[in-house]
């Protein structure tokens, strides 16, 4: 089973990238599971025609131990199994603990043994700010981390911090860094900046995704770009990225 986590600064396009990747992996014939790890719970939105699915934490709050595995999951476009961890009311509770609780609920219900996905993709909120947000890269979950970044300085700083966290946790048997995904914002010197980051992190840029209006047009129609515009340049680059992620799996990946 392939187990990938996608991190990056808030608003950088992680969910769009993850959704498109899930579709690309599904096109390859893989049974894909996408798990959104953000209290906003919008990772899998465009795998369901723009409809929100019940979050795991909302289901657990309502049904507690009586919640079944099927209560926690939904099946979306191309049979992709979707889950959204969800989170507390903004400003209250603990979002990190929420992610941990959602993951524990999946474990308790033997989710991966029952669903038997070929590939699990974790779409994780912004930065590794506490234990809960590190859950997806802990032992037993993702074994490769991919960071989405643009050439904007704040995005690069966030990417560097995430890579540092991954390196710090390496001794614990956590995931390793699989590479960077450049999601263009068309800022000056974008390529050079991200190449410098990749060199500093001793990793590689796996994809150079164009800023493509097709994404917005697809989302306006409540669909993912892979579904609405399967032949656009972005879709083709996503397919190449998906292939590169699978090809790199299992090979040692040097980090800082």
């Amino acid at each position: 089973m392939y187990r990938f986590a996608v991190y990056g600064k808030g608003g950088i396009g992680k969910s769009t990238t993850c959704t498109a990747l899930s579709c690309a992996f599904a096109e390859m014939g893989l049974r894909v599971m996408q798990i959104g790890c953000d209290p906003k719970a919008d990772s899998t939105l465009y795998l369901h025609g723009g409809e929100r699915i019940p979050t795991m934490l909302d289901v657990l709050r309502e049904k507690r131990d009586e919640a079944t595995l099927s209560d926690l999951l939904c099946t979306g476009y191309r049979g992709i199994v979707c889950a959204e961890a969800g989170g507390p009311t903004p400003g209250l509770g603990c979002a990190g603990r929420g992610i941990a609780a959602a993951f524990e609920a999946l474990d308790e219900r033997d989710a991966f043994d029952i669903i038997k996905p070929d590939l699990v993709l974790y779409d994780v909120l912004g930065d590794v700010v506490c234990g809960g947000f590190a859950m997806p890269i802990r032992e037993g979950y993702a074994n490769r981390v991919f960071i989405v970044t643009s050439g904007e300085n704040m995005s690069i700083y966030a990417a560097a911090n995430i890579a540092l966290a991954v390196e710090n946790f390496r001794q614990r048997g956590y995931a390793t860094l699989g590479g960077l995904i450049l999601n263009r914002r068309n800022v000056p010197d974008e390529t050079e900046k991200v190449e410098t980051l990749a060199a500093d992190l001793h990793t590689q840029i796996l994809a150079d995704l164009p800023r493509d209006n097709m994404i917005s047009l697809a989302q306006d129609a409540n669909r993912g770009v892979m579904e609405a515009y399967p032949d656009c340049e972005y879709a083709q680059k996503i397919r190449a990225l998906a292939k590169a992620m699978l090809d790199g799996e299992g090979e040692p990946c040097e980090t800082v």
Binding site: D65, I99, D110, E139, R172, Y174
Partner: protein, 394 residues
């Protein structure tokens, strides 16, 4: 109706999961580390562990403090455990914890990995949260033990009549002869007890747990281990306790059937109540751990009607996560003619005023208070009929 599990005016709560972990591991030669400021440790040693004063076991608390927790500084725990392990050289280490590590999403697996790397001793991460009941802790601990030390390939060599007893701790069976009688009851029925998890058997014996053809789940604490072994190599399980001659025979029959067809079973039939906490008026209510309560209620119902006053028995058991909703327990008690429960439920029974109360102490509920009165109930010699005549008016 939204249940209120939090308010306990008349009733107690059951022992927490962390004590369940320590209890399950107590006799296996390991070192158990409870990651917690300290309170859970004293609760365990004072109230939950009857072997504390006469049997040595390596039980430690980490002494977690606020700043260490908030900063996620795991180095203190790691260095303390490594140092203790070097001094004491335990066979393995179990790392569990209470609610503070849980809330900060403490990384049990990662820290276990680091400790093991430093001291070379196997470390079992058991991610308890201090919020669930002991059945959860026992279950997680036994499953962790199986994951790490038992080899599913051994199932091929299991004798045809070999069974395991799963969920056995003093929290449900105390330290009288219950476990000995339980074993003997099954052996007298022609079954071979392969492993008793986890009282009275050695570490080595338990590592061969897969040399069994059926798991007898004698407490709901054994369910996780049973489910895990079923998934690993298809071992079926039978839930039930041989409380009295009739249930002893029924359990042996159920095990023989499961040995033959590989299907899971329980020794009780469905109870005719309408909801988890709804009990018809004038019945016999048995309150306790789920397998115990259901087995004893079934044992009562198997008596001829004249021996049980024509009454039906119904089980009430705590939810592993939430416990028992007190208002509904009192309503059930109020509706009952007879209540069989730990003596600490007598207060709830007074509030509800059933006709009679039959005390049946449970270590996981009242600890050492009524330990001397815990009966040996796990074999054919236990008389359910005599139990029913032993009640007292409230």
């Amino acid at each position: 109706m939204k249940r209120d599990y939090q308010t306990h005016v008349f009733t107690m709560t059951y022992t927490a999961d962390v004590s369940g972990v320590c209890s399950a591991m107590y006799e296996l030669g390991g070192m158990s580390v409870l990651h917690d400021p300290s309170g859970c440790n004293s609760t365990y040693s004072t109230h939950d562990e009857p072997r504390w004063f006469d049997t040595d076991s390596l039980m430690y608390v980490s002494g977690l403090d606020e700043v260490t927790a908030v900063m996620g500084d795991d180095s203190v725990l790691i260095s303390d455990v490594v140092q203790a392990a070097r001094d004491l050289n335990p066979r393995f280490i179990t790392l569990c914890g209470a609610s503070i590590p849980h809330i900060i999403a403490f990384d049990y697996r990662g820290v276990a990995h680091l400790i093991e790397k430093e001291c070379g001793i196997p470390v079992l991460p058991v991610a308890t949260d201090g919020l669930k009941s002991y059945t959860s802790g026992v279950g997680l601990a036994l499953r962790a033990f199986l994951e790490r030390f038992a080899d599913p390939a051994e199932h091929e060599t299991a004798p045809a009549n070999a069974v395991n007893l799963l969920g056995v701790t003093p929290l449900d069976f105390s330290i009288n002869d219950n476990v000995k009688v339980l074993r003997r009851t099954l052996e007298n029925a022609g079954l071979a007890v392969n492993a008793c998890m986890a009282m009275g058997d050695s570490f080595e014996t338990l590592t061969h747990a897969y040399r069994a053809r059926c798991n007898v789940v004698v407490s709901s604490a054994g369910r996780r281990a049973a489910r895990y072994m079923k998934r690993k190599c298809g071992i079926p399980s039978v839930e039930g306790l041989p409380i009295g001659a009739d249930m002893a025979a029924a359990l042996a029959d159920a095990v023989r059937q499961s040995l033959a067809d590989g299907l899971d079973r329980t020794v009780w039939d469905a109870f005719g109540n309408t909801g988890r906490y709804t009990v018809p008026d004038g019945g016999v209510v048995v309150i306790g751990e789920e397998v115990f309560a259901k087995s004893l209620a079934a044992a009562v119902n198997r008596l001829s009607p004249d021996k049980r006053g024509g009454r039906e028995a119904y089980p009430l058991w705590p939810d592993e996560d939430e416990g028992l909703p007190e208002a509904e327990v009192i309503a059930a008690v109020r509706a009952a003619h007879t209540v069989i429960a730990d003596p600490l439920y007598r207060v709830a029974a007074r509030a509800g005023a059933p006709a009679e109360f039959i005390p049946f102490p449970h270590e996981a509920y009242s600890g050492r208070i009524y330990r001397a009165d815990i009966p040996v109930f796990t074999g054919p010699d236990f008389s359910v009929e005599s139990l029913l005549t032993g009640g007292a008016s409230i």
